[in-house]
Symmetry: C2
Subunit: 434 residues, 2 copies
Amino acid sequence: MSCSVLGIGLAGFGTVGSGVWKILEEHGRLIESRSQGSAAMEIRKIAVRDLSKKREGNTPAELFTTSLMEVVENPSVDIVVELIGGTEAAFDLVTKALKAGKPVVTGNKALLAERGTELFAISKETNTPIYFEAAVAGGIPIIKAVQQSLVGNQIESIAGIINGTSNYILQRMTEAGLSYPEALKEAKDLGYAEADETLDVNGWDAAHKAIILGSIAHGFLINYKNVYVRGIEKVTPLDIQFASDLGYVVKLLSLVIANKDGGIEIRTQPSFLSKTHILASVHDVFNAVAIKGDHLGESLFYGRGAGQGPTASSVVSDLVEATRGSETNMGFLPYKKTGDLVDIDDTATSYYVRFSVTDRPGVIADIASVLAKHEIGISGTHSPVDADNPDAEFVEMVFLLHTCPFGRLKLALAEVENLDCLTNRPVVFRIEAL
Amino acid sequence: MSCSVLGIGLAGFGTVGSGVWKILEEHGRLIESRSQGSAAMEIRKIAVRDLSKKREGNTPAELFTTSLMEVVENPSVDIVVELIGGTEAAFDLVTKALKAGKPVVTGNKALLAERGTELFAISKETNTPIYFEAAVAGGIPIIKAVQQSLVGNQIESIAGIINGTSNYILQRMTEAGLSYPEALKEAKDLGYAEADETLDVNGWDAAHKAIILGSIAHGFLINYKNVYVRGIEKVTPLDIQFASDLGYVVKLLSLVIANKDGGIEIRTQPSFLSKTHILASVHDVFNAVAIKGDHLGESLFYGRGAGQGPTASSVVSDLVEATRGSETNMGFLPYKKTGDLVDIDDTATSYYVRFSVTDRPGVIADIASVLAKHEIGISGTHSPVDADNPDAEFVEMVFLLHTCPFGRLKLALAEVENLDCLTNRPVVFRIEAL
């Protein structure tokens, strides 16, 4: 057991970076004790944009630099923590650290999801590990769970609610009947959505995390260009209401599913989920990931997916991991060049489809016969009549459809759209039977 | 990275042992790939009681022995897996393995909870680790979560439903109004309770697990003799019904709580828990552990707490950990000699107390004035009248009591018991506000 103190270089000192400082200051001794002395560490360099900015806590001025590269180059730094975000400067920084033989701890999901192939190749080449627990679901130790705890399992499925902002917005639309813009505004007012909410609500933040989870679960780096991603921006209170009528909630679900024949389905989209499923009870900005292993069976990991404490807590846990040395501890490395991603058109679930139609005789027959022609079965319908206006001219008609490939549904709906009774494009949600 | 194959010796080849064999046979190559070649392993010796018993799968006859010690002594064995249970032979086996410098993987909670002090001392002395993920909550990676993921946190509380049998019995009493003996019989018929259910229903199986969790969370070995444990044998359908009327469920809860002043409360008992708490949704034989860290905040881990696949999955995960070598990877070692356990009489919660009384004028006044004398506040009462028999002579009267130390409540109840209106001893449940 080595008892020398390891030097940490922090690139970025925002919410998470200063959280790491806090934890090491408060609990440095505790961490040393718990690791039997092997995880003695000290922050020795911190790169920031603006030296003049006032910093919380008593961080010595001499630690700060505006040079990112100094964090790597400083000879007293043994491990580099990348918390600057983005995929350009962060890529250069991480590459440089690995090439210098300095293990990297990062919370940058976009970096890993978009440039993981390059980075893990360098990691392997240089025999220097990258740790990234903080990149997925904040304080939930889901990376270690997949990598270590499920090491003896084929991972049959991963289903996650891994974007807190979206979860909060959908919840408020469900509970309070808010429109999407109203719920988004509320989330912003509460600090649950960033000034630029794009990546949260368009699904890509969750998709990046799912790509990372899928990659470590299946051993090859999933190309983000082949991943199906839809956001929550177009979800309406009407569909949420209908979902509820039918026993479902709408959740932004990220799924990685291994098919029987070895293909991997990966998708992130707002989906219908039974109200009785445990993921349906994930509220507010909490995250949860349900994993099914062939021997382990079902398990679920739940906690705070963002915020200073939880994310910094994951960074510190990775730092301790990094102090253990890379000899038999490279963290994750891909062990397959590639894998078989299932085309979204070939993925099959059941569906909720809402048609906005002109209410004239024959409408249902017209739509149903197009569906029948494409061999899509109807398992149920839902079209509540407006009690005050039973003869309304335009109505919403919901069909619940039996499981079929998404591609076949698309063909059928393209044909339905040609019917003159439609006043709007059909609205589709997958019903996920997890 | 070492690529030599490590030899495993299995002591015990029941449900879990044969599950380990299965996983290594099915997924040995996958495990090697995932660990970049460092976790190549092979089972080389299996100790069983009866050589003539027919074994599942194609285990070669020459691996089997009836000698426990051969599993340790065989020079081709590098890591010893102890799955025989009990605290005598298992203790000798583990001791011998550690002294031979062979890391141990065990699923034996009683052994660790009762003889951990001795075993971890030998582990430290011999610089040889003991891994025990399988000892607590089967397939839930709760040991690694506490040790690794929360390494940068003071662990404020651990609340677990960690005995599946009890959880199932209480659930059936709740759902179907079964009596305890009826629900127990059902659990046995379904294979959810063992032939001898004692340790499951008297709370000790859960308590052993809580002792292990508390010990790794707080760095010292908790003496099982100082732990408060109550089982579910005396829980009645009536109290479950009243709990439900009041918005609670009855769960066998194991708690490890760190007080502000550093004291540790540890107890296992059937308790009232709000129906809205996430642990209230843990059904059937599932287990769940909620952990609060000072930086991480709340998190929850949920999954199968027993059974072949889940438990063997944890053993295999520990085996991979063990292949990484002990140089900076001793797993858990106590880092404090002792800690301050809070006496059960000094632990404070609110309470549900049910009094069976003769219905005569003055009863409520008599009881209430004893409580008042002991400065115990009443926050609510509940005593449903039998609609068909409003003048019944004997009634059940429930008082909900404000938070006070358990010792004070005991004194007050001893005095209440002297009142001649009581027809039975008062029934007490803690109301846990997690």
